[in-house]
Subunit: 195 residues, 2 copies
Amino acid sequence: MSTRPSTERKLLDAADELLFGRGVATTTVDELLALAGVSPATLYRAYGSKDGLLVAALQRRQSRWLEVWDDAVAAATGPAEALLSVFDALATFRAQPHGARWCAFLGSAAEYADPPAPLAAALRADTEHLRSRLRDLAGPLVDGDAARAARLADALLLVVSGELAMQLREPGSRTASARAVARAVLDAELSGAPA
Amino acid sequence: MSTRPSTERKLLDAADELLFGRGVATTTVDELLALAGVSPATLYRAYGSKDGLLVAALQRRQSRWLEVWDDAVAAATGPAEALLSVFDALATFRAQPHGARWCAFLGSAAEYADPPAPLAAALRADTEHLRSRLRDLAGPLVDGDAARAARLADALLLVVSGELAMQLREPGSRTASARAVARAVLDAELSGAPA
DNA sequence: GTCTATATGCTGATAGAC
DNA sequence: GTCTATCAGCATATAGAC
């Protein structure tokens, strides 16, 4: 009794699987159409181009990621765990059906010499959301010291990005070691407070 | 009085600049030929294909990177600085003429659904060399404890990869913050020795 | 009206023939 | 070194089915 998926939905699902799972350039429009079971006219009417579909798929993916991260934060037992829960969210998100090979945003950006504006905007939004959310979560841990929170957030953003890039080097690698590195960085920030 | 560069050399230089600076898929064979000033026959005779040239360029790049890193290690003032000198090497290498947008190895791998064998091998070689070299440099800092050295090396590899991926998010970002994160990780490992 | 199926122009990459 | 055959992918047009 599932309702029939809309053609947009089918196209976005196909984009998730092919564009992010196998790469943008390597995936042809024909493959997308075949997987979605949709005719060319439908794609071009709804999204204008392959790139248009890519951007739409990134946007949907972004909101899904935020939900997963929100849940992970909500499940955390304290402020430090809330900050580190980004790694739990990463693992959860990766285990979901529409998993990307490493990171849909970084991966897409990597495939363009200089990315078209909407794509650059999507990556920037992802980066800025990560940074500001991490900063907010870091705040309570450093008594609201904005500079320290920002420094901590930048450090975690670096570790998160490293964890993603490691998926490219070694597809199976666990997020556990990234979490451990992040905790070491956190502990260092909380014990000392070096310049 | 410079000797005339060989056609192979010219092709490798062109590959460095275009394949790694702008991306593999976005660069056409014609652009490579035009920049190198050689004819198609030359490329296909010497390397067989665009991918063949790519792999050859990666191999040359790997040995150049090792030289830069060796120099940075040699210039370090002590064992801890030697371990962290990988970030100096990264900055130096990036400042050289044939700079990639972020990382030639990760970037190339990211552009293939599943990379052809020689390319996968090149990335694996890069990863393994990073890891083993970092492990060797970490050894003296942990009294030769192999497990701790390995853990430290893995952590630094993660940070290095993160620093590279951050270039994709924010092209101008400095290696300084990665170095600071790495130092925090190092300090944490050297003070406590948590499981 | 929305979608499918099919056919086609166009562009550009690859590889090889000359 | 030029030149060209082949091939693939993107985008669109047309006509018909639900």
